[in-house]
């Protein structure tokens, strides 16, 4: 035992490596590891670049064109197929839409709306769903049963139906779309988060915090949520395109944003209705943005999942 003591003696390093001990060593967090893995993922990095370009397009696109999204060029109206082709020469980069408005300006503005719906909708869903799921999972027992039965019931209601009903009853507006999407999208999130919370709850570091008297909500905030974030981040990136798709579908049905405002869904809807006239560019440009963005989000979500969850930790 006495030689065991020598290795063990806490006093010993005090003299041994005084200088080395002064400088604090920086640790490598799991986040830093994940970031490194993500940066090595080519598909995800390309997608980040593409997505960045789409965002820049949405926020600065209007500076590139002299036209706005609602002025009708009466000279072109009725002769869109002949005069309204995309052209770099006259500054209508994406051509005209069917009503003789500049399509570039309309796509810029539609991109803004679609991204906003996607990001804000997903953010609402993630925040509400995470808090709800973490609380239900952590408290457990009867509270958990009641909270999750409520989610089950809410999920059994066909949400598209509710959304359409809301828009019909309260009128079509962006706010209503947010409310409708927000009401339903957090349900999935809360289920996922609850499942994760249950598995984290049984870890010993939670027990250690309980044993030392850390209050429950501090435990949720400090110990549960940070360990959930991996799942939440991945799910959030996959939720954004889902929100965009939902909004597009609503707009495609003609219940979405109101003229002169537009969104990808609305533009695609218009584009398909005029396909027969041979003005294919009206479908092509919004559709291209839509598809590219959705793909980019999916690749990023995939990359994040691989980065944050290397071996099913």
């Amino acid at each position: 035992m006495s030689n065991g003591m020598a290795i063990l003696n806490p006093q010993q390093p005090r003299t041994a490596a005084m200088a080395e001990r002064m400088a604090e060593v920086k640790g490598r967090s799991l986040w830093a590891d994940a970031r490194a893995r993500f940066l090595r993922n080519k598909a995800a990095m390309v997608s980040v670049g593409v997505l960045g370009a789409v965002f820049i397009f949405a926020f600065f696109g209007h500076l590139v064109t002299p036209y706005d999204n609602e002025t009708i060029d009466w000279n072109v109206l009725g002769k869109v197929k002949e005069l309204g082709k995309p052209s770099l020469a006259n500054g209508h980069y994406f051509g005209y839409d069917d009503s003789g408005r500049d399509l570039f300006a309309r796509v810029v503005q539609g991109t803004q709306v679609s991204l906003m719906v996607g990001v804000i909708g997903a953010a609402i869903a993630v925040i509400v769903g995470t808090i709800y799921g973490a609380v239900a999972g952590y408290i457990g027992g009867r509270v958990d049963s009641i909270m999750m039965r409520f989610v089950d019931i809410a999920m059994s209601v066909p949400y598209m139906f509710v959304l359409i009903l809301l828009l019909v009853v309260f009128g079509r507006s962006i706010e209503m779309i947010f409310v409708g999407i927000g009401l339903t999208a957090w349900l999935d999130m809360s289920r996922i988060v609850r499942g994760q919370t249950l598995s984290i709850k049984n870890k010993e570091f939670i027990e250690a915090a309980v044993a030392t008297g850390v209050p429950s909500f501090t435990i949720i905030r400090r110990h549960v949520v940070p360990n959930l974030l991996g799942v939440v981040v991945v799910y959030a990136t996959l939720l954004v395109p889902q929100m965009i798709l939902t909004e597009s579908f609503i707009s495609f049905l003609g219940l979405g944003v109101q003229e002169p405002l537009t969104s990808w869904g609305a533009l695609i809807s218009e584009g398909t209705s005029t396909m027969n006239y041979g003005t294919l560019w009206q479908l092509f440009f919004p559709l291209a943005f839509f598809v590219v963005t959705i793909f980019a989000f999916f690749f990023i979500g995939d990359g994040l999942r691989d980065a944050l969850d290397p071996k099913d930790r």
């Binding site: 640790g27 915090a209 360990n227």
Partner: protein
């Protein structure tokens, strides 16, 4: 000198167990994880608790810490009955008793630096402390347990199992507790590291006078560190005695079996020795045997053992045993 700090009296912890797929209104069955355990702990003393896995030792530890609901009995800590205290009134006592865990890595939050982890109990109980004071104290305890204090910004996965357990000990130590409950703190570690961690705990005890409850499933580990040893079986105390007394003169047939299973480092003696084999598995705690809970595996059981449950009887020299025949 030998002041009693913890007095556990007839403690019972029963869990409700429902058959999977049972109707919501069916009466759950009771799993008697701890069924009438009494013991006392003196200041600065180490009580070892041994038993097979599933005998209720971890539940007993958590019941003392008021982390599981208690069915009956009392836990008196420094004169205060802890049973039934709500979270707020329990909190001041949590400073006085800390716990270290079986899986060293799992007991540290992977998203926090070890500095933050070790500081947590201090910040919880002394929220007004300045950041500089917290940091100084954290570095101090890390130093005490043999972790270089300049590593405070590292994360748990950057340490070995033994180091993680030291960090866990530092976290327990930072609030100067009077009792540390060690729940199988070395079973997940290599044998060589086990000795280091046990020696560290013994040194700390000498320095600070902290009392320890040391749980293990293996008598040889407990022997080294304990003043007294308690043997648990199916939630019941079989025997309590001072460590040396227990090893030299085990009275309960279960303790005898446990001791005979401990390997002897001498190969000759090891080959000669008689191992009392406990055939049969541990009976289900959902349906414990009547009378003496050990009777289904007891080599010397008599018909009477099934009728009456033996109570702990004092056999002198602080040696208590629960058996009709001994």
């Amino acid at each position: 000198m030998t002041e009693t700090i913890l007095k556990v009296d007839d403690l019972k912890v029963w869990f409700d167990v429902k058959k999977p797929g049972a109707m919501p209104w069916t009466r759950p069955r009771k799993l008697k994880a701890v069924d009438g355990v009494s013991f006392e702990l003196n200041a600065g003393e180490t009580l070892g608790i041994v038993g097979e896995s599933g005998c209720g030792k971890s539940t007993l530890a958590r019941a003392v810490m008021q982390m599981v609901p208690i069915e009956a009995g009392s836990v008196v800590w420094l004169g205060d009955d802890l049973t039934g205290l709500d979270t707020r009134r329990m909190r001041p006592h949590r400073k006085e008793m800390q716990m270290i865990f079986q899986d060293p890595l799992a007991s540290l939050n992977p998203r926090m630096t070890i500095g933050q982890i070790v500081a947590e109990p201090l910040k919880t109980h002394f929220p007004g402390l300045s950041a500089a004071k917290v940091k100084a104290r954290v570095q101090d305890v890390l130093d005490t347990v043999g972790i270089l204090p300049n590593l405070v910004n590292r994360y748990p996965h950057e340490f070995s199992g033994g180091q993680c357990q030291r960090i866990g000990i530092a976290r327990a130590l930072i609030v100067d507790p009077q009792l540390i409950i060690c729940d199988e703190p070395v079973s997940a570690l290599d044998v060589s590291i086990q000795a280091q961690v046990i020696n560290l705990l013994m040194d700390l005890q000498k320095e600070t006078g902290v009392a320890l409850i040391f749980i293990a499933h293996d008598l040889s580990v407990v022997k080294h560190i304990s003043d007294r040893v308690m043997v648990l079986y199916l939630g019941n105390v079989m025997e309590i005695a001072p460590a040396a007394e227990l090893y030299d003169r085990p009275l309960h047939p279960y303790t005898e079996a446990l001791i005979s299973a401990v390997p002897i480092p001498d190969p000759v003696l090891e080959r000669q020795k008689q191992v009392m084999l406990l055939d049969l598995d541990l009976p289900s705690p959902l349906d414990p045997p009547s009378g003496c809970v050990f009777r289904t595996r007891c080599p010397i059981a008599e018909p009477g053992c099934a009728q009456v449950k033996p109570v702990l009887a004092d056999k002198g020299r602080e040696h208590l045993v629960a058996c009709h025949l001994r």
